[in-house]
């Protein structure tokens, strides 16, 4: 049974947001992406969300690359985008076992060697939501399960990341991500107590 058009459209939008954040988490912003963000539709959205997009030039790309490194790569006082770190204090905890199970089901395009990288998880969530949007009723538990197991943890990571970011672009976008995940918890009927 197909879900109705309104719900389906919202699911697509949510999938799109996961894609956006997967992109933001996995890679630095390049000129092409910056140019895309400067197009009218994107600018309207970003502006409404009070996220500033820097001009399209090499200087902006360099500044964003430095900020990305400071936030997600290091070398110090940074915000490792790995679920294991946030839940056990180390890379490669048992979370990887669970991720490997999901990777049997979901095949992301990204080749990320550390399997609990938030960017990879967001891309997988986007894939899952696409399927949900495709209305396969038998899969209705999948997004909820994956969200609980491998997405919900990142809300606080985004909080830290936003506070570390020095550019308006990253601080705005990462702060928005935190809010997005809070709303996703509601959508997913995620019970924080569990």
């Amino acid at each position: 049974m197909n879900m109705n058009a309104e719900t389906g459209c919202e699911t697509i939008a949510r999938a799109g947001l996961y894609e956006l954040y997967a992109r933001i988490l996995l890679h630095e912003i390049d000129l092409n992406t910056l140019a895309l963000f400067q197009t009218a539709d994107w600018m309207t959205c970003f502006s409404a969300l009070q996220i500033e997009i820097p001009p399209v030039n090499e200087e902006s790309v360099e500044a964003l690359a430095v900020d990305y490194c400071k936030v997600f790569i290091g070398p110090k006082d940074f915000c490792p985008p790995y679920q294991s770190v946030w839940e056990t204090g180390h890379l490669q905890s048992d979370v990887i076992d669970s991720m490997n199970e999901y990777l049997q089901v979901v095949s992301p395009v990204t080749t990320e060697s550390i399997k609990d990288h938030a960017g990879l998880q967001f891309e997988m969530m986007a894939q899952i939501l696409r399927v949900e949007a495709g209305s396969d009723e038998s899969l209705r538990q999948l997004p909820r399960a994956f969200f609980h197991d491998h997405i919900a943890w990142s809300e606080r990571m985004f909080g830290l990341a936003a506070s570390l970011a020095e550019t308006d672009f990253y601080s705005g976008l990462l702060e928005a991500a935190q809010a997005f995940l809070a709303s996703e918890k509601t959508t997913m009927q995620f019970n924080q107590e569990c």
Binding site: A5, C9, I12, A13, R14, A15, G16, E19, L20, A22, D30, T33, L36, T39, C45, F46, A48, L49, V66, C69, I73, G74, P75, K76, D77, P80, Y82, S84, W86, T88, G89, H90, L91, Q92, S93, I96, E101, Q104, V105, V106, S107, V109, T110, S113, E123, Q127, R130, V131, A133, G134, L139, Q141, L142, H148, D149, M157, L160, A176, F180, N191
Partner: protein, 938 residues
Amino acid sequence: MKTSQSKRQFLKLGLLSFGSFSLAGCQDSTTPTTETVSSSKDTESLTKAIPFGVDIEKWKAGKGRDYELGSQKMPGICLFPGPAAKIDWPPKDKYKGAEKVPGMCQLCSTVCGIIGYVKDGRVLKVEGNPNDPNSRGRLCARGQASLNHLYHPERLLYPMKRVGKRGEGKWKRISWEEALDEIAEKLRKIREAGNQEEFAFHQGRQRSKDAIKRFLDAFGTKTQLSHRSLCSGNRRAANLAYLWESDWDLNDCENSKYILNFGSNAFEAHQGHVPFLNRIQNGRFNNGAKMVTFDVRLSNTAGNSDEWFSPFPGTDGAVALGMCHWILAKEKYDREFIERWTNVTVSELKAHLANYTPDWAERVSGIPSDDIKRIAMEFAEAAPAATTMCNRGSSAHLNGFYNDRAINLLNALVGSVGKKGGWCWSPWGGLDPIVQTPEMPSSAKTWSVLEDPPEYPLANVWRRMRVGEVVYLYLLQGRAKLQAYMTYNLDSPLTWPEESLTQEVLTSEELINFHVCINCFYNETAHYADIVLPWTTFMERWDLDARASYNLRPYVGIRTPMIEPLGESRDIRDFFPELAAKIGGDMQKAYEYGTTEDYMTHWAKNVPVNEETGKSGLERLLEEGAWENEENEPFYEPYARRLTDEELEGSEVDGDGVITKGGIGIGILINGTALRGFKTPSRKMEVRSIFINKIGLNEDCSELINHSGVTKTKSRPAQHAGHDLDISEMPIWLPIDEHQALQDDELIMTSFKWNVHNHGRTMNLKWLAEIVHSNPAWLNTETASELGLRDGDWVELTSYYSEMLEKISPNLNHRAPNEAGKRVVSTMRVPIVTMQGLHPKAIAMSNSCGHWQYTNVAKAKARSEEADYSIGSDLESYRDSDWERNMWWEDKSGGDRAKWIQNTGNGWNQNRLMPIAPDPITGQQAFHSTVVHIRKLS
């Protein structure tokens, strides 16, 4: 998302993003507009138009069951000892199905064999490998913390390039391709201009000697710098002066009856650490050996000895000479050994040692003469199953070379040299020579003052020990130029003397034009790099490795990648061939062996078959982790071996009985029998070394070298002309000028290692840092009382340059004296702990502490400096929050001494007080000779 923003706007952004990113390639794909997506009535057709990869059938078959929220377990690898850990620890099925993969630890220099329990691409546990003949399956706390090292949340995982000023701390990620291109361009220019010596490779602890040598020889530079002179230069040189064929005495403690320890802390540190400790304790408890330790400080080794004596710092050699005198005086020496196997006579020895009486030794060292005499007699009576052992306690002094020469002499007098239970060695400092790497390029021919400073005659004679501590000073003085500098597992700003000078030079782009740092973590050296390359840990890379084994025979161990390297970390074996190809100019010819695994297969191919398993070569090593040829007899009394007829064919005998073949020494005629002898010019154990005296004076030593048979040894090069030093042929004790007239408020600084740390690479490991994370200064109770100090008081320490070195080594003088005529190195404020376990004129501080980079654990910071969160501090879901709740030792004083609580913080870098102070003979850094002024802080 700001609260005022509508969900609609956010979803619009989502609709725009949908399908806009081809994530793997980071390139744009489709760019749907809000209108096109939102107007679509057929979401199904849209989602199907974009390829996705969810295997519905697999989901249904596996996790497709009804999902119960909260059932997901997140126990983590390192639950111990978090407060919630007991819930799941130890999990019953944790190791079920795990593969046991051999490797070798590298958290200290002992390189013990390890086994990693690997399951689903993760290492779950590390333990000792019982097949390792040296370590016998034992593994110390450092090794147990390997998991902290491998899975540290602040590991370097990507190459980075400096942005902004050097040392500013701003970076951006770059690809390996970009990194190697930039490095290759720099190196190519240097090479093409014929200035290869201006590329220096500076290593800290390294166990991939072949890979480094291959790259540097292929490039054509001999400027390979190391830390050996900061470690063991004097001990090695003292051994070499006696033996020539080995720089490493292997005390056969397991079979000994008497162990006389001068300043070694084998129970906590030492290059032989656990294997050595194991054999010492076996000797004591299974063989009834007595152990006596002379050490300024009551180390755990001293504390576990049968007797401990605390000599005045730097007088170990005087105590040893006092004992030698008494052994001769009481006729307790081994005349046969001395007359037959040393190059001096008993009467020569008696004459030389006449003034080194036990009473004299007591005046110098403070050790009672009666004890010196008694211990000398006990040692002699236990011989030949009696041995000395020593290390930095005696050798890291301005007179350290002579100290160790004097200590070794004890073994010659009692005839325990090479005997079972005695003072032994082996010619195999590393791998069994049965294994051979693929063909190496020919050695580079360049010369650099950084690698071969002419002021230190014994630094590079038998072995390339170099004089690492002068490198930055010589650069500052303009004595050398570096266009490119590659550091590897090195933390010189922390572990080198004169921290401020090191930082000054590393910061200067004029002095070091280009700096590439290869490391697993962002340490104090990486902070001053231009490019940082993420290095694999020792659990993610290949090596064949071995140490000089206490079994007195060689072995072969293997280090294997237990898992795929994390992130984009890479080993030099992996990227050096690529870098060589990019540099070009035929460099890649050195890498025509194929893949790294091909290389390892070739290297290990001569490891023989195990009859039980049928496996040989690399396959055998991968299964067993190590192989020792048990058909080799332990290296006892090698000098007494008869030469074979084949060896003697075509030989000649000179007037001293030295047997030569083609002018090269092969043995010695003793009582008409042709024996191998020692591999020295006299073919005897050289108590008197004419060679070291001639080398010191820059005289030609070709004939002496030929007689030794150690033809790799050379006379000093032309660049050393004019740098003469009169080195005593005989073991002596040399007073250190500034130690002779210490003021009441002056002490001699000594440093030490803990049993859970190495010098500069373990304070980031939380299991170890939790045990030791601070290093207040140790002060003798009596001294503290005289200075009006109590436990917990803070003092200001001011360190001085050596007055003796000021005269002997003017090359080191780079600071003007103050008004009082003293040349000050640095000042530091520290708290003290008082105890009886230290000489009254010494002050002790451990090293390993005081990091200002190297992860938040090393800095004892539970939170990041810039945010209210810290890594892994998700209090809502966190179950083992070491980074938050368990870092109880965080210093929250904010620099206010009054608020500082004992046993908190990350300590102080003791090396900040250390001057660059090489022993003038060998270049060994005198870490234990520095005089400091102490002042109580109110």
